[in-house]
């Protein structure tokens, strides 16, 4: 069943399907760029929208850091505004930027090209997916202009406070718009997600077995399956909270007294919401991480001119991590007041997940070992990813190990941990991926000098932001504090450290503007790249046109003869063999 690595190339198969494709939408500018049904254009729409709303989140992070670094200096940052910044920054980054960009952006662009399909299998549904996503983003953005502003409930939206008057937007439009936007997002995502899954399962070209797919596709595919299983929990939680807020139901609301006034709720459970939220929320971490794992594997392999080490182990690690991530959710709830005996189970499952994750790290390192490492921008970002991901993954062993979590939970240590592991690390992969695939999308390379500047400031700067932040938390500084003030338990003041972190955050933010400028500037002025500037073996680099045309492959679909990692094969004429190259020579000693 498993055919990688293979003993010999299969006999030359019959010609692949040759149906001509005339997409209905390609004729006009409107059809191509607005009501697009071509996955590549939908990918760009998704990416553009995600980056647009992501820039809002970036600015919000500056504002929140200004308050933490220089408390009392900025009058317009009230406690209400601060909690709104925190909430919207978190929700935008996790859901509307990272999830949308990895799955809607990279998934749409790369899946059909990498598996040798002409497009997603349901192009019209794919278009609808984007439009519903855009609607979700607009509803979310509208909450900034609603009376009372957006919700300030924290991105976890824990009831009862999320829908009560003591929280910004709780009794106004903020929380309603947030919940409606999430519901829309999930509807849109489900349409796209079904597309990605069915395309991977049904539309692979001849010879493209599952165990020949690039790890990028494996990562995105597994993450999509997980998202289809996890998002419904958030969906029902959002609907139930809407009912609690609007119809007076009590799903999450026990009998309670707000500011001396008895409310009419009774019998509900706030912890039920937390279970639903984290049943979505923990897989969500891996929904962001698995595509990053897949992509970074391919970046390392291509730019080290070496096959990914232990491909089969890498695939199984992705699948096992995806499955395990559904039984670890309550490690976010060790101090939530749930039955304390759950701690034994969830600490054990959580630490077990470290094993397949560590295997992935080892295999990236062993791919570098005896490689021919080209220090291109994608490779630099991949290396930076390894550093930040390992750092953030290891601090996860603190927080996952139930009793160690007790003093650290709800402190800045947690903020530092999750930013390092699911903020910085995946974003570094996104940048590496953009520098890597930009030539395929535009036909040009991005400017190297600007890219180097962007890389160094982003990598060193992000590490300088989040590494010291762990120690702010270790000191005991709680997260989500508008202002800590002077407290006796902080024996060495952290003010200077906080100011340093804020300055670093502003500098790193500035470097992202350089990236955006480079992205636009290179569209016109970038060096022409040709079809395969990195001399990569996977299918997307073998298209007849660059950028790929409608239908991707011209008249004939490609036929695949090998896995995506035939780099530096002994005896081969060059240091890579494209997946659709029928070169017959296969070294006999490959199964070591």
């Amino acid at each position: 069943m498993v055919d990688v690595p293979q003993q010999s190339a299969p006999a030359v198969p019959p010609p692949a399907e040759t149906a001509d494709v005339h997409p209905p939408d390609a004729a006009t500018w409107w059809g191509r760029w607005v009501f697009s049904q071509d996955a590549k254009y939908i990918a760009l729409q998704y990416a553009g929208t995600a980056v647009g709303i992501g820039l809002v989140a970036l600015v919000l992070s500056w504002l929140m850091r200004l308050q933490l670094g220089f408390p009392g200096t900025f009058d317009f940052i009230t406690p209400e505004a601060y909690y709104q910044f925190v909430t919207m920054h978190g929700m935008i980054m996790v859901v509307y930027l990272l999830t949308a960009l990895f799955l809607g952006g990279f998934g749409n662009y790369l899946i059909p090209l990498m598996v040798g399909a002409r497009d997603m299998v349901f192009p019209f549904v794919n278009m609808l997916s984007y439009w519903v996503y855009l609607l979700a983003v607009l509803v979310l953005a509208a909450s900034f202009f609603a009376p009372g502003g957006p919700t300030g409930a924290g991105w976890t939206l824990y009831p009862p406070q999320a829908i009560l008057g003591g929280t910004p937007g709780g009794q106004q439009a903020g929380i309603l718009l947030m919940l409606v936007s999430l519901i829309l997002f999930i509807i849109g995502f489900t349409m796209g997600g079904l597309n990605y899954v069915v395309t991977v399962l049904q539309a692979r070209t001849r010879g493209m077995t599952l165990m020949r797919m690039p790890l990028t596709v494996w990562g995105i595919f597994t993450a999509t399956v997980m998202a289809l299983l996890a998002f419904p929990a958030l969906f029902v939680a959002s609907v139930m909270m809407l009912f609690d807020r609007l119809l007076g139901t009590s799903f999450f609301m026990p009998a309670l007294v707000e500011m001396g006034e008895q409310l009419s709720y009774g019998g509900g459970s706030p912890i039920l919401f937390q279970h639903l939220f984290w049943f979505f929320g923990h897989p969500e971490v891996y929904i962001v991480a698995l595509p990053a794992f897949g992509i970074v594997s391919d970046l390392i392999s291509v730019h080290a001119r070496k096959n990914i080490f232990g491909y089969r182990m890498m695939v199984w690690a992705i699948v096992v991590i995806g499955a395990l991530s559904f039984v670890v959710w309550a490690h976010h709830m060790y101090v939530s007041g749930m039955n304390p005996y759950f701690g034994f189970f969830f600490a054990t499952t959580t630490l077990i997940i470290a094993v397949p994750t560590a295997i992935k790290v080892y295999n990236w390192l062993l791919t570098l070992w005896r490689g021919d490492i080209h220090l291109t921008l994608p490779m630099l970002f991949a290396l930076a990813f390894i550093v930040t991901f390992v750092n953030g993954g290891l601090t996860g062993l603190f927080l996952g190990n139930v009793v160690v979590d007790v003093p650290l939970s709800d402190t800045m240590f947690v903020v530092a941990h999750f930013h390092m592991v699911m903020g910085v690390a995946p974003v570094l992969v996104i940048y590496g991926a953009i520098y890597h695939w930009y030539p395929k999308i535009t036909g040009r390379l991005m400017n190297e000098a600007m890219g180097q500047f962007h890389f160094w400031v982003t990598f060193v700067g992000a590490y300088a932001i989040f590494f010291p932040m762990h120690y702010v938390g270790l000191v005991g500084v709680p997260r989500r504090y508008f202002e800590l003030g002077e407290v006796a338990f902080v024996t060495t003041p952290v003010d200077g450290l906080n100011a340093f972190i804020t300055v670093a955050a502003l500098v790193v933010g500035f470097a992202q503007m350089v990236f955006l400028f480079n992205f636009l500037w290179s569209l016109r002025h970038g060096r022409p790249a040709g079809g395969n500037p990195w001399r990569a073996a996977s299918l997307e680099w073998q298209t007849p046109e660059t950028p790929p045309g409608h239908g991707n492959w011209g008249h004939d679909l490609p036929v695949v003869y090998r896995w995506a990692y035939d780099y530096s094969v002994p005896g081969a004429p060059q240091d890579f063999i494209a997946q659709n190259d029928p070169w017959p020579g296969r070294p006999a000693e490959r199964r070591a």
């Binding site: 690595p5 909690y83 406070q161 009560l164 003591g166 929280t167 709780g170 026990p254 009998a255 309670l256 007294v257 008895q262 019998g267 080290a304 070496k306 096959n307 232990g310 089969r312 007041g337 304390p340 005996y341 701690g343 034994f344 600490a347 094993v355 560590a358 790290v361 080892y362 390192l365 062993l366 570098l368 490492i373 630099l380 290396l383 550093v387 390992v390 750092n391 290891l394 062993l397 603190f398 190990n401 139930v402 009793v403 160690v404 003093p407 590494f467 010291p468 120690y471 270790l474 709680p478 504090y481 508008f482 800590l484 407290v487 338990f489 024996t491 060495t492 780099y567 240091d575 070591a592």
Partner: protein, 274 residues
């Protein structure tokens, strides 16, 4: 090659920051030094792994950097290496998990002689209730909360009459005596957090949560809320004073019980209240 150098500097800088910077946890004031020890073990294991991984990466980048005419090795997999690494990782993970679970068992096993102390949170202040001479807290009910019964103590429960009520005040605890903190919220989620005690737990309206500890040194300790509870979250502060026995008894003698608090209001009222 700058990247190899920077990777080495990342390791050196991180280790130096960890060892030399003045930012470290606040001195402990409870029996939970076990937690600190487990944390230290975790720091050592993870720190060693981090240094090893990043230094190995730096070495690879330097040693196997592209040279003209060089070609990478071709080695799709190596079962032996993969099994060894998996096994070693499993051992390292178990070395952290095992002591963690042992200490967790202690953390959730309340000793028989622990005294009950109830903490009641609301937006955005702390109140407390002590069991009084009978050693038992009376039942409580959020539906009974009113101006003259701010903690919702059930008046019909005889165990509640001698309960000591500290409304929006500070808590005193006797040193070296284990306490079980019974945590209750009347409105939204809160979390009773005293950094020196190491323990913390959410307070959830509609249920009573708990954690226990033994204060091990006297002094004044700040109470913070550690679960987002609305705009006043960051300002929800209070104090716990850990006293020696004499000071504690002196303080306790000044506090009013539920019955005493209820009495004068009824006497002074124009009509009997129910």
């Amino acid at each position: 090659m700058a990247i190899a150098l920077v990777l080495v500097l990342v390791v050196v800088g991180s280790v130096a920051f960890h060892l030399l910077s003045p930012w470290w946890w606040t001195p402990i004031a409870s029996n939970w030094s076990y937690i600190d020890h487990t944390l230290i073990i975790t720091f050592w294991i993870t720190g060693a792994v981090f240094a090893a991984v990043v230094l190995f990466t730096a070495y690879c980048v330097w040693r196997f950097r592209h040279r003209e005419g060089a070609r990478a090795a071709y080695e799709p997999e190596n079962r032996r290496v993969e099994l060894w690494l998996t096994g070693l990782t499993a051992v390292g993970v178990a070395a952290m998990l095992a002591p963690g679970l042992v200490v967790w068992h202690r953390f959730i096993t309340v000793p028989e002689d622990a005294a009950d102390v109830e903490v009641v949170a609301q937006q955005w202040l702390w109140s407390y209730r002590l069991p009084g001479e009978d050693g038992a807290l009376g039942r409580s009910d959020a539906a009974l909360i009113s101006l003259d019964n701010p903690l919702g103590v059930v008046p019909d429960d005889p165990a509640g009459a001698d309960d000591v009520i500290i409304e929006a005040g500070d808590l005193h605890l006797p040193v070296d005596r284990p306490v079980r903190m019974l945590l209750r919220s009347v409105d939204v989620l809160h979390n009773f957090y005293v950094p020196e005690f190491r323990g913390k737990m959410d307070m959830v309206p509609g249920m009573i949560t708990f954690f226990w500890f033994t204060p091990t040194r006297t002094g004044e300790f700040e109470v913070l809320c550690a679960e987002l509870c609305g705009v006043g979250h960051g300002f929800m502060r209070g104090y716990v004073y850990v006293d020696d026995e004499a000071d504690y008894q002196a303080w306790l003698a000044e506090q009013l019980t539920f019955a005493e608090l209820a009495q004068p209001i009824r006497v002074g009222a124009a009509e009997p209240m129910d």
